[in-house]
Amino acid sequence: MLQGSEAEELTVAAGELQVRIRRGHSTDWHEAEPLPDSGGVETAVQQPEAAADNLSRISAGMVGIFHPAAELKPGTHMQPGQVIGVIESMKQINEVISPDAGAVREVLVEDRSPVEFGQVLVTIEKGSEGHAAS
C-alpha cells in the first residue's frame, strides 16, 4: 500500500477496526528461515470486523511471511471459508480464510512479504459476483 508513495505511515480506519502500516527505515526484509516448532500458534486469521461499507478487509492474525493462494487475483470470486493464502510463522503454515463471499478487490501484499499483526492482506467486495477461480 505504501509502495510507490512517499508516505511513511498510513492509517486505515473502518468502523471500529483500525489498521496502521508503517514503513520501516530499512527495507531489506530477510527471508524466513525454518524455525523450531514452538507449538504455540493459535489463530491463523483475525476475523475482520464489519466495515461500514461493502468491503471486507482480511488481515493477518499473526506475524510471519504471507504466501497468497495461486487463484488470489483481483476479480476472483471467493467463497466463505475459502483459503486466500497462508502465513508462515515459526515453521508452521497457517491458513488465512475468507470470512465472506465476494470478488477480490485488491491484494495488498506481495508473495513472500513479511506481515505484521493486523495488517490488511486482501480486500473483498462482499456480494459481488466476480469470476470463479479456474
Partner: protein, 456 residues
C-alpha cells in the same frame, strides 16, 4: 563473536524507550514490537522499525513467543533485548532465540532456570557460602515436614511459592495452629499463579530492609558488583516506589561483604550480563539472600548515577562477547541518587490504577535530573499494562541534596488527565524518619494507616 547490529526490543513502555536510547548511542539499529493498544506509544515512534505483534492482551502480544520471534526474523534482528517482566526471565524464550540464531541479551537459559526456582536457588547459593534466611533446605514434602520446619526456625514464618516472585504467593503464619491452613492456601495460590504448587518455609525477618546488589558478569568469567540499592519504600502490594543508592545505613565493610556474596551467587549459576541479588537486612545489619533477578531492573538508573556506568550499553557489549571494561578496583561510588516511580495509581483509593489521556505534561529539569518515560503530552495511557508512567531520577552530592532536589522536581512536575502517586512521594520524602534513613519495608503501609487514623 560478531557485534550486535540490530536489536529487537521485546517490551514496551519506559524500558523499551531506555533500551532504544542506548542502541542509538551505540549506532545499533532497533526494532520495536507493539500491540494494537500501543500503536501511539513512544517506543514505536523512536525505533527504526516497528512490527505489530498482536491485540492488546499481553498473552496475545508481548507474551506471544511465535509472533515476537517471527518479528525478529522478518526484520533481520540479530539480538533481542527482553527488558524486565514479560520474557526477561523465561528460559524457554531464551532458548527459542538462541535456536533461531538470535542473541538473547541477558544471562544463559540455565542461569535463569536455576535462579527462577527459588527453593533450588537457596540450595545453590548456600553452597556458595551466601547467607540465606533460616528455613527448610528445599520444598515442603508434607504437613509434618512443614510443622517440624516451622517449629525449628521459630514463628512467625513465611510460606513462599518456589516459582514465585514480585511479592506474589507469600503467606505469613504467626502460630502453629494456622500453619496447615496457610500451607493449603499458599499451595493453591502457587498452583494458580505459577502452575507449580511447590512451596518452602522461611523465617520472617521482621522490620527488615530490602537491599539489593547490582552485579555484572561477562562471558569470560569476570564479575564485578556495582554496590547496593535501598528498596524498602514499597506500597501495600509490595511494589517498590522509591529506590536509592547507596543505602543510608550500610557501612563500607557490610557493602563489601554483600557485594562479594552477590558475586559468589552469580558465579555459582554461571551468570553473565546485568543481574541483581536481593537481600533482606535486619535491625542488626545482618543480611540474608532473598532471590536473584536475572534481568535489568526498573531501578537500575540510581546505580548508573552513582557509578557513571551505562548498564544497558554494558549488557549489549557483554552480549557481543566483549570483556568487562573495568575491574572491581576501578569502580567507585560518587554522591547519592534517588528514583521515584511515577505511577498512574491513586494512593487515596488503595492504589487503584487510573487510565486516561495526558492532557498536560511538564517534566522537571535542571541539574542532576533524569527522566526515563514513554509519556508525552496527548498520550493516552492504555488500561492493559502496568501503571508505571515514568521514573524520576535525581543525583546529589549527598543524600540531603538528593532529597531536596527530588522534592523540588516533584513540585515542578505537572501531569494532568489522570491520578498519579506524585503527592505521596513528596509526603514520604518530607517524613522525618525517611530523611533520617530510618525505615523498613512497612514504612508506606504504616504511614498511610497513620494518615487514615488522623483523618478519621
Amino acid at each position: 563473536m560478531p557485534p550486535v547490529k540490530k536489536v529487537l526490543i521485546a517490551n514496551r513502555g519506559e524500558i523499551a524507550v531506555r533500551i532504544i536510547r542506548a542502541c542509538k548511542e551505540m549506532k545499533i539499529a532497533t526494532v520495536a514490537v507493539y500491540s494494537t493498544a500501543d500503536a501511539d506509544s513512544l517506543h514505536v515512534q523512536m525505533a527504526d522499525e516497528a512490527v505489530c505483534i498482536g491485540p492488546p492482551a499481553s498473552k496475545d502480544s508481548y507474551l506471544h513467543m511465535p509472533n515476537i520471534i517471527s518479528a525478529a526474523i522478518i526484520t533481520g534482528a540479530d539480538a533481542v533485548h527482553p527488558g524486565y517482566g514479560y520474557f526477561s526471565e523465561s528460559p524457554s524464550f531464551t532458548e527459542a532465540c538462541e535456536s533461531c540464531n538470535i542473541r538473547f541479551i541477558g544471562p544463559p537459559a540455565t542461569a535463569i532456570e536455576k535462579m527462577g526456582d527459588k527453593a533450588k536457588a537457596r540450595e545453590i547459593v548456600t553452597s556458595a557460602r551466601v547467607p540465606v534466611i533460616p528455613g527448610a533446605k528445599g520444598i515442603i514434602a508434607n504437613d509434618q515436614d512443614a510443622l517440624r520446619t516451622a517449629q525449628k526456625i521459630g514463628y512467625p514464618v513465611l510460606i513462599k511459592a518456589s516459582a514465585g516472585g514480585g511479592g506474589r504467593g507469600i503467606r505469613r503464619v504467626d502460630r502453629p495452629d494456622d500453619l496447615l491452613t496457610a500451607l493449603k492456601t499458599a499451595m493453591a495460590e502457587a498452583e494458580a499463579s505459577f502452575g507449580i504448587a511447590d512451596v518452602y518455609v522461611e523465617k520472617l525477618i521482621e522490620n527488615a530492609r530490602h537491599v539489593e546488589v547490582q552485579i555484572l558478569g561477562d562471558k569470560h568469567g569476570h564479575y564485578v558488583h556495582l554496590g547496593e540499592r535501598e528498596c524498602s519504600i514499597q506500597n501495600s502490594r509490595r511494589q517498590k516506589m522509591i529506590e536509592e543508592a547507596p543505602c543510608p545505613i550500610l557501612d563500607a565493610d557490610t557493602r563489601k561483604k554483600m557485594g562479594a556474596a552477590a558475586v559468589r551467587a552469580a558465579r555459582a549459576v554461571g551468570y553473565c550480563s546485568a543481574g541483581t541479588v536481593e537481600f533482606l537486612v535486619d535491625a542488626d545489619k545482618k543480611f540474608y539472600f532473598m532471590e536473584m533477578n536475572t534481568r535489568i531492573q526498573v531501578e537500575h538508573p540510581v546505580t548508573e548515577a552513582v557509578t557513571g556506568l551505562d548498564l544497558v550499553k554494558l549488557q549489549l557489549a557483554i552480549a557481543a562477547g566483549e570483556k568487562l571494561p573495568c575491574t572491581q578496583r576501578d569502580i567507585s561510588f560518587r554522591g547519592h541518587s534517588i528514583e521515584c516511580r511515577i505511577t498512574a495509581e491513586d494512593p487515596e483509593r488503595a492504589f487503584q490504577p487510573s487510565v486516561g489521556k495526558i492532557n498536560r505534561l511538564a517534566w522537571p529539569g535542571g541539574p542532576g535530573v533524569r527522566i526515563d518515560s514513554h509519556m508525552y503530552q496527548g498520550y493516552t495511557v492504555p488500561p492493559y499494562y502496568d501503571p508505571l508512567l515514568g521514573k524520576l531520577i535525581v543525583w546529589g552530592k549527598d543524600r540531603q541534596e538528593a532529597i531536596a532536589r527530588m522534592l523540588r522536581c516533584l513540585a515542578e512536575m505537572r501531569i494532568e488527565g489522570l491520578k498519579t502517586n506524585t503527592a505521596l512521594h513528596s509526603r514520604i520524602l518530607l517524613d522525618p524518619n525517611y530523611q533520617k534513613g530510618e525505615f523498613n519495608t512497612t514504612f508506606v503501609t504504616r504511614k498511610l494507616a497513620d494518615a487514615g487514623r488522623e483523618a478519621a
